[in-house]
């Protein structure tokens, strides 16, 4: 932490739309389940919030076969959005979570447009849904998921519907890195009214079982998370935060306090911890303690001093040149 300046700004609250969080550190959607499972491990009330496991309208059994495979500093998963469904979640789990004092961001996903309308319509009938995260980027489901999250027009359409039907709720759009231009997608979400961007979802990967000469996962491809993807996530946050004005929540491989600081320096307004809680559940609280004592580190200066936005809006993005061209 030596080189990171200590800022005077000790107010570490985070605003997303009208939502205010005591600090900018969240548990990411997925690893922590609904939040309740980790209640003896992490002091949830100290967190900025917990992003729930993704909820779909109908319950989902998730994917068959192997669901987890470790890789060097990474983890491939093919869970397939197993969840109890909207009705059970909102009827039972919500109240338990609220009574435990957990500040929730509810993650939502759908299979197609009709399913999405139904889900958002259902959420619209519930009271006190402060903020949701649209998971338009899961690589582990047959339909919906990444297909929506890779098309800026479709992404915009989904975000607009949520803004329209949930006028009292703030909307985070969670983006996939499996695209040529994540900045363009972020811009599409912002223009559709999103209150913030979460980046990134897992990176598509696969593995092969040598003993059977078959793919490890039944769906063949799976989602990679963990420290292995951290530089990719950091780069995405860097790009997005220079493309949109709304807050960016960085997620992907954060596994130390120093990692977290880098995300803020790259332009994140908040961060989420996912895979790391499997092996280091104390990490989110250590990050919060560091931010409380040292403040949130300032964004680093743009290397060339230029602050131009990426203007191609997802049409002809540039991932191939490691972002060199967009820096001019």
């Amino acid at each position: 932490m030596g080189g990171v300046e200590v800022t005077d700004n000790k107010d570490i609250r985070l605003n997303i739309g009208r939502s205010v969080f005591e600090n900018p550190v969240f548990l990411a959607s997925g690893p922590a389940g609904y939040g309740l499972e980790y209640i003896n491990y992490i002091d949830m009330r100290k967190l900025g919030g917990v992003v729930t496991k993704t909820i779909s309208f109908e319950p989902r059994a998730g994917n068959p076969g192997v669901r987890l495979q470790e890789t060097p500093s990474g983890l491939l998963n093919s869970i397939g959005l197993e969840n109890v469904g909207a009705e059970l979640f909102f009827r039972e789990k919500m109240a338990l979570l609220a009574s435990a004092g957990i500040k929730l961001v509810i993650s939502l996903a759908a299979e197609d447009w009709d399913d999405y309308r139904r889900l958002i319509g259902y959420v619209a009938e519930r009271d006190n849904i402060e903020i949701v995260e649209l998971n338009l980027s899961c690589p582990n489901v047959e339909r919906g998921g990444m297909a929506v999250g890779t098309d800026p027009d479709l992404l915009g359409k989904y975000v607009r519907l949520a803004k329209e039907l949930l006028p009292e709720t703030d909307i985070l759009a969670k983006l996939t890195p499996n695209v040529r231009d994540i900045g363009g997608l972020a811009l599409a979400a912002e223009e559709a009214g999103a209150d913030g961007i979460t980046a990134i979802n897992t990176i598509v990967g696969m593995d092969i079982d040598l003993s059977s000469s078959k793919p490890v996962f039944k769906r063949v491809r799976a989602g990679l998370s963990g420290p292995a993807i951290r530089p990719v996530a950091l780069d995405a946050v860097w790009k997005i935060s220079r493309t949109v004005k709304i807050p960016v929540i960085g997620v992907g491989g954060i596994s130390s306090v120093d990692d977290a600081l880098k995300f803020f320096m790259a332009g994140a307004a908040g961060i989420q911890i996912g895979t790391a809680i499997f092996y280091d559940p104390g990490l989110p609280e250590r990050i919060i303690e560091r931010l409380e004592t040292g403040g949130i580190p300032s964004r680093i200066e743009y290397l060339t001093g230029k602050t131009e936005r990426i203007e191609d809006g997802g049409k002809a993005g540039d991932n191939s040149g490691a972002g060199c061209r967009e820096q001019g």
Partner: protein
């Protein structure tokens, strides 16, 4: 770290005893606050301070005393080999006890255990726990291994009423696999048919279900799986099951580790 009695701990290795070329017994100092455990529960060990390997590794509890937690470690990959190389005095992080469903206490004429690999650990814990509770039921252990030295027979000689062993290379006991030996002993007679407890690799448990399933009134099995959170949250360690005629996914870490073998959807779980 205030407020809660958190079930994860930094502790030290009290002893690490090599039992065979591929196995060792590690005793961890029991940290203050580590709850009493029941057979079938496990601890999750962070074997490295860096991120290779990334995940904590689950190991069945082999025994628990007021001062120590012991586990049987078989070297099968990078995680277990790092752990097996650790010496007394080294610090590690463990979480536990974990696992939601215990082995039921037995009644009646006796119980048959079948153990393979690290599955021996929980089976030993079960036999010892019942002895301490003065449950006077006959225990029959069927233990299989590749070779004589991998049977680790010094570890459990006094824990069971009867021990039947099989080795693949024929260096001790029956030559062949443990499921064949169990079938032969059942045919001979004298093996109680009420309760079978198995703990070991999936292939072993599957063979038991296929070949001896009809011979026992109840077969409970403590399953192994790669785990993410070990708490039932991430849904990474699920097995397909059938409950009330419905297909469901059940987590090994929380909704197990012990399952009625009839509840597992073996058709689905390839």
């Amino acid at each position: 770290m205030s407020l809660m009695n958190r079930p994860y701990f930094r502790t030290r290795i009290a002893e690490n005893t090599r039992l065979s070329p591929s196995a060792c017994k590690i005793v961890f100092e029991r940290p203050e606050g580590f709850a009493d455990a029941f057979p079938g529960q496990f601890i999750s060990i962070r074997v490295s301070e860096v991120t290779v390997p990334l995940l904590r590794r689950p190991f069945g509890i082999m025994d628990l005393s007021s001062t120590g937690i012991s586990a049987l470690i078989k070297v099968i990959g990078p995680g277990s080999s790092i752990l097996a190389a650790k010496r007394a005095g080294e610090e590690v992080e463990i979480a536990g006890p974990l696992g939601g469903v215990p082995f039921d206490r037995p009644g009646g004429e006796g119980v048959v255990f079948v153990a393979g690999g690290t599955g021996l650990g929980p089976v030993i814990f079960c036999a010892r726990s019942w002895k301490r509770e003065n449950i006077s039921c006959k225990t029959h252990l069927f233990i299989g291994a590749q070779t004589k030295e991998e049977l680790l027979d010094g570890l459990y000689r006094d824990d069971f009423s009867f021990i039947y062993s099989a080795t693949i290379d024929g260096s001790a006991g029956y030559k062949g696999n443990i499921v064949e030996l169990l079938e032969k002993e059942i045919d001979k007679g004298g093996i109680p048919s009420e309760l079978l407890y198995s703990c070991g690799p999936k292939a072993m448990v599957r063979a038991l279900v296929d070949r001896t399933g009809s011979k026992f009134k109840n077969h409970y099995t403590s399953l192994e799986s790669v785990m993410g959170c070990s708490l039932g949250a991430c849904r990474g360690c699920t097995v397909p099951a059938i409950e009330d005629g419905k297909k469901v996914m059940r987590s090994v870490c929380l909704e197990g580790t012990v399952f009625n073998s009839e509840a597992i959807d073996w058709e689905e779980w390839k």
